[in-house]
Amino acid sequence: MSFNVLIVDDSGSMRAIIKKIITISGFQMDQCLEAENGREAMEVLSKSWIDIIISDINMPEVNGLEFLDQLRKSETLKEIPVIMITTEGSSERMQEAFDRGAKGFIKKPFLPEDIKKILFQVIGVSENGGYIEDSGSVDECDF
């Protein structure tokens, strides 16, 4: 089974490094689509099937939290798991993201292992391909 991933970040270099990490992590990725902010991400989602979203918070136009709100309003999109990846690491901001539907949280700067670990946990698949019974919400990796 392979997954379509959408990476939402206004930084092209950050999108590139996240894509590279996922590619070499062993995660079964089919397509990797990209968007520069929440507005572009909604456009991508209107045209393509996405299994998991990795999104920054601090972005122009439509930021990551507003993007989560837009996803939650859509019956067809609200079940897509979203991992927030951001520099903003206060516990209150993390809770705000979880309350709006985020399933995982990674703080920048990160190590490749951090993304790999949380990606497998959120999608509910172990690294050897087996299913994890209840992935639930995943707190940030331990830095």
């Binding site: 092209g12 270099s13 601090n58 209150e92 700067p109």
Partner: protein
């Protein structure tokens, strides 16, 4: 005074962590002036507000892109350098604020990048301003943070 030194230590730790983890650049604090080629800035608001500027040489910025993305010199574009340098000040800002007080919520602005050549001098520091200079094998870095 104690608070000033603590803030400086927190800022330095945030800078070290960002540059080592994301860019594989190992920094050493120095007292030198930094003749920089570009600058990225970010503002933060919350229980305290302020601004952080990151000033770099072209050589350092080039190495950051190459190290982060695993590309050769030919793979480094102007856009990637701009993105990378903006991301560095974004991460330094976020990492500093989290280490400074993770129980409080701060808002970070969108980082701004400028091609600007000038000299950053550590001795310019004034109250509520922290000026730090670093060297690495890839080039020099200056960081200025001010609380408003």
């Amino acid at each position: 005074m104690e608070d000033t030194l603590r803030i400086q230590e927190v800022l330095m730790n945030a800078i070290f962590e960002v540059f080592e983890k994301m860019f594989f650049v190992f920094l050493e604090p120095v007292d030198e002036d930094v003749k920089y080629d570009m600058i990225a800035s970010i503002n933060f608001t919350g229980p305290v507000s302020g601004e952080i500027d990151v000033m770099l040489t072209s050589d350092l910025a080039n190495s950051m892109v190459q190290n982060m993305l695993g590309v050769g010199e030919g793979g480094v574009t102007r856009k990637l350098i701009e993105d990378c340098v903006k991301e560095s000040v974004n991460m330094v800002g976020g990492n500093f604020l989290q280490k400074y007080d993770s129980s409080k919520v701060f808002d970070l602005s969108i980082p701004v990048f400028k091609d600007e050549s000038a000299v950053f001098t550590k001795t310019d520091a004034i109250e509520n301003t922290w000026n730090l200079s670093f060297e690495s094998s890839e080039g020099l870095l200056g960081v200025k943070m001010s609380f408003s």
